[in-house]
Structures are given as structure tokens and as C-alpha cells.
């Protein structure tokens, strides 16, 4: 059940857009022998990975495993040192990235009002419209803060605004890099609800989390990364009950893996 206050943000073509696989032509996402190195250190080591359009994918693994780099490689924020990233057979480029959006661990908000932060992306996509902005702010529960400076919002509200702004671009793919790591449980729940609503509308969610509960609540499949390699890629049920690798098992058991 979709909460009553959740409006469809995908505009007039809501019924078409909410059909599963609105962005199906972007998939599969294929990483072919992707590596990344910086300053002579190889941080991502020959990753082969294929993701399909359905469901939410969570990337897990200890700090320094290369999760954030992996997400940035998928989104084209950085270019791989070796190998290729392709979306539905097309190489990574602006045409692909424009259909995606990313929410960062620390929200990067413009030094403007809450409303102006939304207007910024609406104008960028050529669809500035006060009514639309209002619907987006209502959806994120930020309507009352529309005229406030975005940077004076609480941490939870800031991340909600970052989510709302990312979704205002109507992405087919939404990346989230530990979006709730700095938030309290109530704010985390709101972010999760917004993410779920987006997923139910057909947006592919790919996100990083260290929060085991969150992973269980949201993930349909898990990619486990360790030392720049994908050790495991399996459905969430399998991963949480019978992890194939000892590292993943240890990680979930709360052991420190090196």
C-alpha cells in the first residue's frame, strides 16, 4: 500500500511510468573487468557484474572495500582505469547519466532556499513549474520549509531535500551512498519510505549501507564487496541466510574482517 500522502511525481504519464521497467532500456548494467586505480594503488580490481532493472540492489562491505568507488563508476562520476561500464549496451555518458540521480552521504545543498534547490533541477531539466515544485516538497514533507535556507535544515530534513531533489529529475536509476548514515531512526525511516515509493514506481535503486536492518528492509539483492572485488552477488534472502563467502558471513556476524 502506498501511503496516502505519497503523490506520483512522474507527471502526466504516471500510469505508463509506473509500469515496471520504465527505464528498462538502460539495463542490464554491465561492468566488464572494471578496475580503478589512484596514486598507483589499485582500488577496484577487475570487477565483472551484471545488474538487472528489477528491484533494489544494496552494495555492502567494510569501509575501504571500494563500495563508493563502485557506485561512482556505475554513475560515471569517475572513469574506470580499465574495463567498461555499459547501460543497456550503451557506454556511460551524459545521455545515460541524465536519466540517473545520486544522493550522497552528506547532502550537497545549494546555498539557497529549499524551494530554490528544487527549482534548480527543474530548470536544469527544462521543466520549471511552481506547482510541480510544490508537489515535490509536499511529497518530501518539506512544504512548510519551502522558503527557509536549505543549509539551516536539520540533518534529516537536508537529506530528505537531497532525495526530493534527486527524484525531481525523474530518474530511472537512483544511487544512494549511505544516505542515512548520519541520521536518527525516524529520519532514516522517512528516507526509506521515499526510496521505497520510488522503487515501487519503477525506479531502480542501487545503494550502499552499513545498516544491516536497512539492507534487510530494502534490498532485493546484495552485492558484497571486499578489497576492491565483488565476493558475492545474490538475492537478499540467500545472502542474509546463507552467505556464500566466509567474509560476508563474518561481516554480518559483526566480526571485523581484514
Amino acid at each position: 500500500m502506498r501511503p496516502a500522502n505519497v503523490v506520483d511525481l512522474r507527471g502526466g504519464a504516471a500510469s505508463d511510468a509506473s509500469a515496471p521497467g520504465a527505464g528498462a532500456d538502460l539495463f542490464p548494467l554491465v561492468l566488464d573487468d572494471v578496475s580503478f586505480q589512484a596514486g598507483g594503488t589499485v582500488l577496484i580490481k577487475g570487477i565483472d557484474l551484471t545488474l538487472e532493472a528489477e528491484g533494489a540492489t544494496v552494495i555492502m562491505g567494510p569501509n575501504g572495500a571500494g563500495k563508493s568507488l563502485l557506485l561512482r563508476l556505475m554513475h560515471g562520476l569517475i572513469d574506470p582505469s580499465g574495463g567498461t561500464v555499459s547501460w543497456g549496451g550503451a557506454g556511460m555518458g551524459e545521455a545515460v547519466r541524465k536519466r540517473q540521480a545520486m544522493v550522497f552521504q552528506r547532502p550537497v545543498l545549494l546555498r539557497r532556499s529549499v524551494a530554490a534547490n528544487i527549482d534548480f533541477v527543474l530548470r536544469l531539466r527544462g521543466r520549471a513549474d511552481p506547482a510541480r515544485r510544490q508537489a515535490i516538497l509536499d511529497h518530501a514533507g518539506l512544504a512548510a520549509h519551502a522558503d527557509q535556507p536549505a543549509r539551516l535544515l536539520s540533518g534529516g530534513e537536508q537529506q530528505r531535500l537531497a532525495m526530493a531533489r534527486a527524484l525531481a529529475t525523474e530518474p530511472d536509476v537512483l544511487f544512494m551512498d549511505e544516505p542515512t548514515s548520519n541520521l536518527d531512526p525516524a529520519s532514516t525511516l522517512v528516507i526509506e519510505e521515499i526510496a521505497k515509493a520510488a522503487r515501487d514506481r519503477g525506479t531502480k535503486i542501487i545503494f550502499i549501507t552499513h545498516d544491516m536492518g536497512q539492507a534487510r528492509r530494502l534490498a532485493d539483492e546484495v552485492v558484497f564487496v571486499h578489497k576492491g572485488k565483488v565476493l558475492e552477488h545474490s538475492p537478499a534472502e540467500t545472502f542474509f541466510t546463507q552467505p556464500a563467502s566466509t567474509e560476508a558471513g563474518d561481516y554480518m556476524a559483526g566480526k571485523i574482517i581484514l
Binding site: L77, E94, M102, F104, V108, L110, R112, P149, T169
Partner: protein, 235 residues
């Protein structure tokens, strides 16, 4: 000390009496320096933003040059503009030498590197914070520059202020290209230089006090604006 006492009295008399000559000189000073600021601001801020967001071979050299030019001696700028605008120079046909326009050009050249260099640094710092998000949203470069300029607007006011201060305070450039002609190109600093050499220290000091008061008033105004803005926009 007598001079100082007399200077204050003279300044006071001149201001209270709204001395026509004095007002003319102050008016021209403001007109020349503010025009120079607007021209240099338009070019300097664009240049600063462009240098902040782009990467190209030789960028380091350009930055060193722009930064070094912040210390341009006004007399050298005056000399170069004089040579360009004099009858024998390439722009002599414009007939601008010894006009307020020549003074505006000279001051604009003088403060352009200050505005470009300081805004470049400021915008580059802001860009470091926004870059990933902008790349994620596929913001085109020109648009990026506009958005960064807008978000840095309150800090950039201080940069503009530095430019205005430099323009208002300099004497070397305007005296060469303007000629300190009474009722035509006489500004506060050139008047002070003239009155000092004539030995009328009281009038010179009086003008100095006026100049200082204007600077303080402008700075206080911008600071007040900035304080409000920071509270409002957390800029």
C-alpha cells in the same frame, strides 16, 4: 597637530557647506571608480568563474600571471593606458585621453586582476564542494559558472569591495591618463596630491577624511548586508 585640527575643521566646513567644487570632485571620484568596478566586475567575475571550473594545459601559468597582476603598480597601468590612448597610440583616434572615460579604463585594468584572482579562488573552493553533485546532474559548464557565482554572491561582494577600495584609493593611474584637469578629470586623490604639493595641507587632509569616510560607509554597508545574508542563506 595644527594641521590635523584645521583639517577636520576644513573637512567639516566643506561638507556642511556642500561646497560645489567638493561635491563635483566626490561625484566624479565615485562615478569613475564605480564604473571601473562594474566593468572589471563583469569581466573579472566571468574570468574568475571560468578559471575556477575549467582545466586546460597552461592553466597554472595563467593563474600565476593573474595572481601576480594583483600587484600592478597604478603608475605603470596609467603609463600603458596613456600610450594606448595618446594621439600616437593605437586608440588615439578615440580621443579619450584626459577624459573620465580614460580614467575608468585605467582603473578597470588595475582592479580586473584583483577581482579575477580572488573570485577564482573563492569559486574554486565552492566548486570543490559542488563538483560531484553537478556532474551527477550533468550541469553544463556555463550553467555551472552562473550557479557558482550566484551561490558565492555574498562572499563575492567582499571581492568587489576590495576592487572598489583599490580603485578609489589609487592616484597614479588617473593622474597620468586624466591629467587632474579642474572640473573635468579632478578626483579626490588627484586633488589631494595637488593640494599637498601646493602646500594646502588642510584641504588635502580634509579631502582625505572625506575619502576615508566614504570607504568606511561603503564597507559598513556591505558588512551589514553580509551579516544579514549569512543569517538568512548560511552562505
Amino acid at each position: 597637530m595644527q594641521d590635523f585640527g584645521a583639517a577636520f575643521l576644513t573637512a567639516f566646513d566643506l561638507l556642511i557647506g556642500a561646497d560645489a567644487d567638493l561635491l563635483e570632485i566626490i561625484g566624479l571620484s565615485l562615478r569613475v571608480s564605480i564604473s571601473a568596478l562594474l566593468a572589471a566586475g563583469l569581466i573579472g567575475l566571468s574570468l574568475g568563474a571560468a578559471l575556477a571550473v575549467t582545466r586546460f594545459p597552461g592553466r597554472g601559468i595563467v593563474l600565476v600571471i593573474v595572481n601576480s597582476m594583483m600587484g600592478l603598480p597604478p603608475v605603470v597601468v596609467g603609463l600603458v593606458v596613456y600610450m594606448l590612448l595618446s594621439n600616437a597610440g593605437p586608440f588615439g583616434f578615440l580621443g579619450l585621453l584626459y577624459t573620465p572615460e580614460a580614467m575608468i579604463i585605467a582603473q578597470a585594468i588595475l582592479i580586473l586582476p584583483i577581482i579575477a584572482a580572488l573570485s577564482r579562488q573563492l569559486i574554486e573552493d565552492l566548486h570543490a564542494e559542488y563538483a560531484e553533485q553537478f556532474r551527477s546532474f550533468c550541469v553544463p559548464t556555463g550553467r555551472m559558472m552562473m550557479e557558482l557565482l550566484w551561490d558565492a554572491r555574498y562572499s563575492l561582494l567582499t571581492v568587489m569591495l576590495a576592487g572598489l577600495g583599490r580603485a578609489m584609493a589609487e592616484v597614479g593611474a588617473v593622474i597620468i591618463v586624466g591629467g587632474n584637469i579642474n572640473h573635468l578629470t579632478r578626483v579626490m586623490t588627484t586633488t589631494i596630491a595637488l593640494e599637498t604639493s601646493k602646500g594646502d595641507l588642510a584641504l588635502a587632509l580634509g579631502l582625505g577624511i572625506v575619502l576615508l569616510s566614504i570607504a568606511i560607509a561603503i564597507n559598513a554597508g556591505v558588512m551589514a548586508l553580509n551579516a544579514t545574508a549569512k543569517r538568512q542563506a548560511y552562505a
